[in-house]
């Protein structure tokens, strides 16, 4: 029988013990004695969330294709187990072999959202690995992070040995080969890191020194300590999506994952250029997979997993060049075999409604719009190319097709937002409701239509045209939500409208981390030590502990979140070359302030800089 790291007595007293036993169908089994490199791939959140993540699935498959490497998975133990592991000194283990990851060569973690930073410390702490890079010895694993938040790894610089900047498919082979070489000749951690920083995309924070201006605390200089260390790190990008490794034998978790379905990535990057969207900038250029490859992958994935649902993954599926052909294929070939096709967020038009009516029960499902802003002026500021006519037209078509539920997503707190812009949100919802009553005759209505408005609070992100923008204090976000709520109650069709909004404390903290620098590290460490982890989970988020940690370390929220940054200020992430040039971002910031729309990449090239990669939409026929 497979050995387990946890005893029966522990497994029987914790919630969902199957999170910790491994043994999933399609999980990789290797003999640890047969490999040179043991690699722990961690998602610093609970199992069900981590098991749903496509990036980890891709890298797990890719790394295990190497005969010399055994890549295993680790997720954050839920607090019930965390407490027991601390009490009984049980070291954190990998799911496949159940061996302690302290003895591994690499501990890799993906950073999908800022609020997981304390969970990075939880994983290191439970593993028995020193929390700070400077305290690690030659026998300790190399701690490496990647993922979207590695676009600014500075707030966690002290905790990591390496940040992998960009898409994981390109540089891991070189990094692992180098590691093996260094292991073979008597390993010296510092020498290895020094050599690793020459591999494209590999950033070693300890090899850089940052100084700050005495006047205002902003960065004075950000430079390599040694001459051979590169001053800029180029973000890694897959240039050929069709030949890039994609797993077909995806793991089947026992505990139901958030994504309990086949997820098929159809393209990377986005042509739209919404100015608030980090993914839309850092994953440039938009690169599509060919429809032939996708058909083949869909078939193989369904056969290898036995999933009864397939979903397409991309930032904007409607922009995929052969969406019609792909959907026809999925519907004709898959629906007949009892497989559901679940739809990604599509632009609502005649085509998508036709597809939706084939795969969903119209009476039960809802249609979704993400206008992101209520007024046309605001939508022009954020470069969201969606007009009132698009929305009302799409909704009217949907109402004619039998739908009566609409979901609307907006952001509050965008740069230059006025009370009029906020009020335009419920006004737009009201117009949609009015379109329902105009379109559907009384005798055909099944009660009222339901228009649900959701707002999130905008957080400025690095490498976006809004990276210089100020945020607001928590109370101001709530005031804005109240403006929306009050205006909604004044609408004619208010009984058909419903409004949800988020908490605002966590937004402010996200804002601090997103654009933070390495001076935040001691505060994050103190917050973890005072009991903060699983901050992304409302029931565990404790804002007061964070405020205390900030105060103790002289961290000003005002400095990191609320101030308007100068366009010429050195930003903590400026050392990364993400191909999109700063001059383009500045131009886009100015366009935003003038409410001027920039055409999408298929319409015309706006010269962002990513064309230098020689791939994707920059080179495909427009």
């Amino acid at each position: 029988m497979k050995k387990l790291a946890l005893t029966d007595d522990i497994l029987m007293q914790i919630d969902k013990p199957a999170r910790y036993i491994g043994n999933e169908f399609n999980s990789v089994k290797k003999n640890p004695a047969d490999v040179d490199i043991r690699f722990a791939m961690c998602f610093p959140d609970v199992y069900e969330v981590g098991m749903s993540h496509l990036g980890i699935a891709i890298l797990y498959d890719m790394l295990n294709r190497r005969e010399d490497t055994y890549c295993e998975r680790v997720y954050s133990p839920w607090p019930d187990l965390h407490v027991l592991m601390k009490e009984r000194n049980i070291p954190l283990f990998a799911l496949e072999s159940q061996d302690p990851i302290k003895d591994f060569d690499f501990i890799a973690m993906t950073l999908q959202y800022e609020m997981c930073y304390t969970n990075i410390l939880q994983i290191l702490d439970l593993s028995g690995v020193a929390l700070e890079s400077k305290d690690r010895t030659n026998d300790d694993p190399i701690v490496i992070v990647g993922g979207p938040c590695a676009a600014n790894p500075e707030p966690i610089a002290d905790f990591i040995d390496i940040a992998y900047i960009g898409e994981g498919e390109t540089s891991y082979d070189a990094l692992l080969d180098l590691y093996k070489e260094h292991r073979a000749k008597g390993f010296d951690r510092q020498k290895f890191l020094r050599a690793a920083c020459h591999i494209p995309g590999i950033y070693v924070p300890s090899l850089y020194k940052v100084t700050y201006k005495e006047s205002d605390g902003t960065i004075e200089s950000f430079e390599p300590i040694y001459d051979d260390v590169p001053a800029t790190v180029e973000r890694q990008v897959v240039t050929d999506m069709d030949s890039s490794p994609y797993p077909t034998k995806m793991l089947i978790p026992f505990v139901r994952a958030i994504q309990d379905r086949v997820v098929l990535e159809i393209q990377r990057g986005c042509i739209r250029g919404c100015r608030f969207c980090q993914a839309g900038m850092i994953y440039r250029p938009n690169r599509e997979k060919s429809v032939e490859v996708l058909k083949k992958q869909a078939k193989e994935l369904l056969a290898a997993t036995g999933h009864e649902e397939i979903s397409l993954s991309s930032l904007s599926s409607s922009d995929y060049h052969a969406l019609g052909e792909l959907m026809d294929f999925l519907i004709d070939d898959c629906l007949s075999e009892g497989v559901n096709v679940s739809l990604p967020s599509l632009r609502i038009d005649a085509f998508s409604l036709d597809v939706m009516s084939k795969v969903q029960d119209v009476r039960k499902s809802s249609i979704t719009f993400a206008p992101e802003a209520g007024s046309q002026r605001m939508r022009d500021v954020i470069n969201k190319g969606l007009t009132v006519e698009d929305i009302i037209g799409g909704a009217t078509l949907a109402f004619k097709g039998g739908w009566n539920k609409v979901k609307l997503y907006f952001m509050l707190g965008l740069p230059s937002e006025t009370d009029e812009d906020m009020k335009a949100i419920p006004q737009l919802a009201n117009e949609i409701a009015a379109a329902y009553y105009d379109t559907v005759p009384k005798e055909e209505r099944q009660g009222r239509c339901q228009i649900t408005i959701s707002t999130s609070f905008f957080v400025p992100k690095p490498f976006t045209p809004f990276q210089w923008a100020p945020m607001y204090e928590a109370g101001e976000y709530l005031r804005r939500a109240k403006v929306v709520n009050d205006e909604m109650k004044a609408q004619l069709n208010q009984k058909s409208l419903k409004y949800n909004w988020h908490h605002s404390d966590v937004t402010v903290l996200e804002g601090v981390f997103a654009r933070g620098d390495r001076r935040l590290c001691p505060a994050i460490l103190d917050a973890y030590k005072s009991g903060c982890y699983f901050d992304a989970w409302g029931e565990y988020f404790d804002f007061d502990k964070w405020l205390a940690a900030f105060e103790k370390n002289n961290i000003s929220i005002e400095y990191y979140a609320y101030r308007q940054r100068d366009l010429d200020e050195i930003l903590p992430w400026d050392f990364i070359d993400c191909h999109v040039k700063k001059s383009f971002l500045k131009r886009e910031w100015e366009n935003a302030m003038n409410a001027k729309v920039t055409p999408n990449c298929k319409m015309s090239c706006s010269g962002c800089g990513s064309a230098m990669l020689g791939t994707g939409v920059c080179f495909n026929a427009r």
Partner: protein, 238 residues
């Protein structure tokens, strides 16, 4: 065509709950290529049903699920294509075609057999030397065994005696091993830990912890008390 699949759930699979196991089997059947039937409607689901759910922490040699299939395949092929899609701790041991009038396994179960022992060889019960004699007094010689059973609606008094069809005890390496056959299913569902709890109370042992028991289900049966038939003996292999 309805097929009854028999399987074992052992080892570390004891930590996987019933709903998770059902979802595992839906995908395993799909991967196996066996042509299972689907229900009608917008959200078609596989026609698949399980006999009595097994609690987390228990193992079993005799679990059952019934599936409706579109194309007949021989039982050996059915078993091997399912076994290729199992994981450690799950194994298919039977694949029989049911007669048309067979009752679905879910409602057919009337009894289940278990082997129960103690996880810890130093459990209090292991120190009672005449435990076998005491078991005879507690069970074989008793005319009734009245207990208080907690239900969703509250508590009710229950006589266990007529619901326990077999209660043997054997001492292996100093640890009592119980062999139980009890009423099971929708009307009088007796969990083995309930029987052992009553026995512990009779023995005067301190507070009973059901997690101290290692429980393995051996098989499930249908029919009347005196004419029980294993769910795995119904139907034929093709």
């Amino acid at each position: 065509m309805r097929v009854r699949v028999k399987f074992e759930k052992t080892g570390i699979m004891r930590y996987v709950g019933h709903l998770d196991l059902m979802r595992f089997f839906q995908k395993a059947v799909k991967r196996s290529g066996i042509q299972i039937k689907y229900s009608e409607g917008f959200n078609p689901h596989q026609i698949m049903s399980f006999a009595s759910p097994l609690g987390v922490g228990l193992t079993s040699e005799g679990e059952y699920m019934d599936i409706d299939i579109k194309e007949e395949i021989d039982s050996q092929t059915g078993m091997s294509s399912l076994n290729e899609n199992m994981v450690e701790g799950l194994a298919i041991t039977g694949f029989r075609y049911l007669p048309d009038n067979a009752v679905k396994c879910m409602s057919a179960v009337t009894a289940a057999s278990y082997i129960v022992t103690y996880k810890d060889s130093k459990d209090d019960a292991c120190y009672i030397e005449n435990i076998a004699d005491l078991k005879e007094k507690f069970f074989d010689e008793a005319s009734s065994i009245n207990i208080i059973k907690k239900t969703k609606k509250g508590e009710r008094e229950l006589d266990l005696k007529p619901l326990i069809y077999r209660f043997n005890i054997e001492i292996k390496d100093g640890v009592p091993v119980y062999d139980l056959l009890v009423s099971s299913g929708s009307t009088d569902n007796i969990k083995p830990e309930l029987v052992i709890k009553a026995f512990h109370e009779y023995l005067g042992l301190p507070e009973f912890d059901e997690l101290s028991l290692d429980i393995k289900r051996i098989d499930m049966f249908t029919g009347e008390k005196d004419a029980l038939v294993s769910l795995g003996d119904i139907g034929d292999e093709h």
